[in-house]
Subunit: 133 residues, 2 copies
DNA sequence: ATTGCAAATGCGAATCAATCTCATTTAAGA
DNA sequence: TCTTAAATGAGATTGATTCGCATTTGCAAT
């Protein structure tokens, strides 16, 4: 339950935070930019500042509630961390983002880290693709 | 030879371009931000505008002379496109960047793209790691 | 319930990387 | 050497994100 998530993270339960969570939860393309979230809120007649959206998303990231991805075009997108892990494929022509999971790759990543004396904490994999002819 | 590279790319051989190539060539940590390159040039008494550095790096990227990476929250870094493709591993504690290659992962990426009806144009893989205990 | 106060918010200003404008310079072919 | 399109430098501009600060609000202790 969302209120509990906030309290566990040591964050006060406020309207902006609940609303941001709600927007992320209902997001159809899982990935939303801060601006996207902001627009949704304004659209739903929730008056919040863009700065607050950024602050809240950053706090959520630190609290492990959302994950941040830095795609190519220079701006971040966020998604609920409750989704199971997946990587991304970006269609260079349409900009569409496809999610995928590949256990073999996940496995290999751990092995590579180990081979270098490290343990894998996290990773970021994005495939840039184009419709096959 | 560097001059030939520029001509092949249909770019005029100019001082700024040669100097940027030179800086990238001598870069100890392979990865430099545009700002890094700019600072090196100013340091070497080569007067060149930051805008030019950005323009040149972008042209080089399009010409396949350098590769651009977007890791490390926010800004791009560039490195000479060596014959060897490689991915990156970032030590979260020291910030050190390690390069690695794994053919199996490369192969899997192509397969994944194909499975979705795409062809792989490019990819970005960064492992965030920490010294194993 | 009421209160006190630190935490949270809104909004405009500030920042930072990157891009654009445009007047001036320069490479390189004729 | 001349000509011209391409390239450059410097500053203005954009776009995403963060900051500063006065105001508001959650919530723990009255």
């Amino acid at each position: 339950m969302t209120e509990a998530e906030l309290k566990d993270a040591g964050l006060k339960v406020t309207l902006p935070r609940l609303k941001v969570l709600q927007v992320l939860d209902n997001a159809d393309p899982h990935h939303l930019s801060a601006e996207d979230v902001y627009r949704e809120l304004v659209n739903a007649d929730v008056t919040v500042g863009l700065a607050t959206v950024y602050r809240v998303l950053t706090q959520f990231e630190q609290a492990g509630i959302v994950t941040r991805h830095n795609f190519d075009d220079g701006h971040s997108v966020f998604e609920l961390a409750t989704e199971e892990h997946h990587d991304h494929m970006v269609d260079l022509d349409s900009g569409k983002v496809i999610e995928f999971v590949n256990e073999a790759i996940e496995q290999l990543q751990h092995e590579i880290a180990e081979q270098h004396g490290y343990e894998l904490v996290n990773h970021e994999l994005v495939l840039f693709v184009r419709k096959a002819k």
